[in-house]
Amino acid sequence: MDLRYTASEESFRIEVRQWLEENVPSESLKSFDTEEGFDQHRAWEKTLASDNWGMVTWPKEYGGRGCNLIQWLIFEEEYYRSGAPLRVNQNGIFLLGPTLMEYGTEDQQARFIGAMASGEEIWAQGWSEPGAGSDMAAIRSKAVREGDDYIINGQKIWSTRAVFADWVFCIFRTDPESTRHHGLSFILVPLDAEGVTVRPIDQLNGLPGFAEIFFDDVRVPAFNRLGEEGEGWAIAMSTAGFERGLMLRSPARFQEATKKLVALYQTKRNDILDLSLEDAVVLCYLDAEAYALSTYATASRLMAGGHIGAESSCNKIFWSELDIKIHETAMRLLGARGELLPESEDFSEDLGVWLDGFLFAQSGPIYAGTNEVQRNIIAERMLGMPRK
């Protein structure tokens, strides 16, 4: 065990910091769930990609830097420190990108990865259906093979970023006789294809952060299928592993949030009547630090050839509950003024930021697999408790 950064890790940090200081937009962008904000964020992805900072862990030939996981953590720390924009293409770069590298053919990688890295093509995720939420194997939407194409019919829902995105990666039932997790295939669909209808769904903050997607005789080439026909479930599970694993929510996000929370606490401290707030602030700080330490420990293990298994479910529960605790504590500190929306006359920027974060935090224990499903996974796969 050696918890010091090496000289090369330190110089990597300086390199990242300098680039971000020169390139991060000085004014914060509009929400990527508005048309204008989406375009601003797409432009930011292009800026990142122009110097190969889009996805530092990717190999150089895909526009990355071949960084190891410790370097990735350093990058993320600097990224959040700099106040750089959120990643509009996270479905693509964190989920589909690694999946393409593992399961895609050379031609598929050449077609999709570059455009993804540059922000030219932004991706949405299409797994859930009205009848297939936590029970994803209940998928009914069909893709029927016809010559070199698939004809797709059905409906997806809760597709994050789908309102303004260019592409969606989905799982469809390609074997009409199949049930459950058999006979599913992983297929990529352009959202401007004929027969695709996207119906935006407004989230708690009133913005269309996700959408329903209807497929009505949509024709896509078989080239768009990732992996073999019928392998969709296994590929989706590996993608879900990336999602819940390390990459989706780096600890820096929560450490920066607790830094702001502590600053807020310091300004309010002398007026606090609720003594339990001191404890709440301390615990938020400790848990954000614990998440960072745990991620460094996991990164060390993975770099030594280890694997991340059901621990990724522990991560998902821990960060999503931490995010709620941080924002609940902030709302308690803000008191009655906390309900103010950003456009209110009496608006001070922080109020709106905390409220926005508070609303978004509510979704954490639900998306990427509900925390109840994660607890089942921990109990059965990590602890070995009986399924039935």
Binding site: D2, L3, R81, D279, S294, N376, A379, E380, L383, M385
Partner: protein
């Protein structure tokens, strides 16, 4: 940057774990409860033969010169076994404190060095009575005691003190209050030097508790999983019910996020980092939360059996409850964190998790005095 224990550390831990699994069973713990001293001399001797008493003593003083990082892996195993013998406090706190003084240029260094040479071989045993703890566990089996008078450190022979036995909720603990008279003869460090020594002792003691709580919690969780897999109701294992699964999954999550915190705390003490106070307090708070949850949920899923004297579970639960408040309770440790948060010189933010550790002169050797 690397968070992994070395192969040597793992091998040492495994050898101690194997010995403890064979020698320290629930049955043998129960038989200690009816013995006069509450200890198994053979186990003390075996652990000594494995080098534990010498671990944290520098090689220049005849020790093995290992670090807190090495030792907490063993402390976790002591917790897992619910080892009644007070080994963790003796080795991690008392022996290391005596070594700190023996390696200093204090007048008492030679006296401490002489005693240390007998401690590392296991010929005599030494305990530490810190002002933060009202009791010393198993004080009576030690030939010597390190005691606090204000911030002064005194080295006192057992025969020169009056030990008043008290009864603990944990039948494996034999706790004592100590009546004694400080004198110039017994003083081995003045208050100015002693303050640093006691602070370091507290950090080591709290680290030892945190590590033991991890092992205790893992053992409770393991027992709870076994019980709920075997026990059937409504024609199926009670552990197949989601309500039961989720109680234990929450314990697992809590533990996963306490373990790296405890490892970091051990590292900061070994490196003499200025982060040690904070890192140790975090470890104590995190391990304590995991242990309280594991004891609570572990008992719940055992049903009425868990509430009995007959079921072995209480050996582990009561240890959690008892040692959780030693070496500074949650209030003490959270307060140290709170002070850090209010200190304007504290480096906050994601990029600073390892800043102090990286920038300070690394010193794995002693140098407390």
């Amino acid at each position: 940057m690397n968070f992994l224990s070395s192969e040597d550390q793992i091998a040492y831990r495994d050898s101690v774990a194997t010995m403890l699994a064979a020698e320290v069973t629930a049955e043998s713990i129960r038989s200690r409860w009816n013995s006069p001293k509450g200890v198994d001399e053979k186990v003390i001797q075996q652990l000594n033969e494995m080098g534990l008493n010498a671990m944290l003593v520098p090689e220049s003083c005849g020790g093995l010169g290992l670090s807190e990082q090495d030792f907490i892996l063993l402390a976790q195993e002591c917790g897992r076994a619910a080892l009644p013998e007070p080994l963790v406090d003796n080795v991690l706190v008392a022996n290391a404190m005596l070594a700190d003084i023996a390696c200093s240029d204090l007048d008492s260094a030679q006296q401490c060095k002489d005693l240390l040479s007998e401690v590392v071989t296991g010929k005599v045993m030494l305990a530490c009575g810190h002002w933060i703890n009202p009791f010393i566990n198993m004080a009576d089996i030690n030939e010597w005691l390190l005691l606090s008078h204000g911030d002064e450190v005194h080295l006192v022979e057992n025969s020169a003190v009056e030990l008043l036995p008290q009864r603990s909720a944990d039948p494996s603990r034999r706790i004592f209050t100590v009546n004694w008279q400080p004198s110039g003869e017994t003083r081995i460090a003045n208050g100015e030097i002693g303050a640093g020594l006691w602070r370091r002792a507290l950090n080591r003691g709290a680290l030892g508790v945190a590590a033991q709580l991890i092992g205790l919690s893992e053992s409770i969780l393991h027992r709870a999983v076994e019980f709920t897999t075997d026990r059937e109701q409504f024609g199926r294992p009670v552990g197949s019910n989601q309500a039961v699964k989720h109680l234990l999954a929450d314990c697992a999550v809590s533990l996963e996020f306490a373990k790296p915190v405890v490892a970091r705390a051990a590292y900061t003490i070994g490196a003499n980092s200025s982060d040690a106070d904070y890192a140790v307090s975090h470890a104590k708070v995190a391990a304590s939360r995991a242990a309280q949850l594991s004891a609570r949920h572990g008992m719940q899923v055992h049903g009425a059996m868990g509430y009995t004297w007959e079921c072995d579970l209480h050996i582990w639960m009561k240890r959690c409850w008892a040692i959780d408040k030693t070496w500074g309770d949650a209030g003490f440790h959270k307060n140290r964190i709170h002070e850090r948060l209010l200190d304007p010189s504290t480096l906050m933010g994601a990029e600073h998790t390892f800043t102090s550790i990286t920038s300070e002169t690394f010193n794995s050797q002693k140098g407390a005095v």
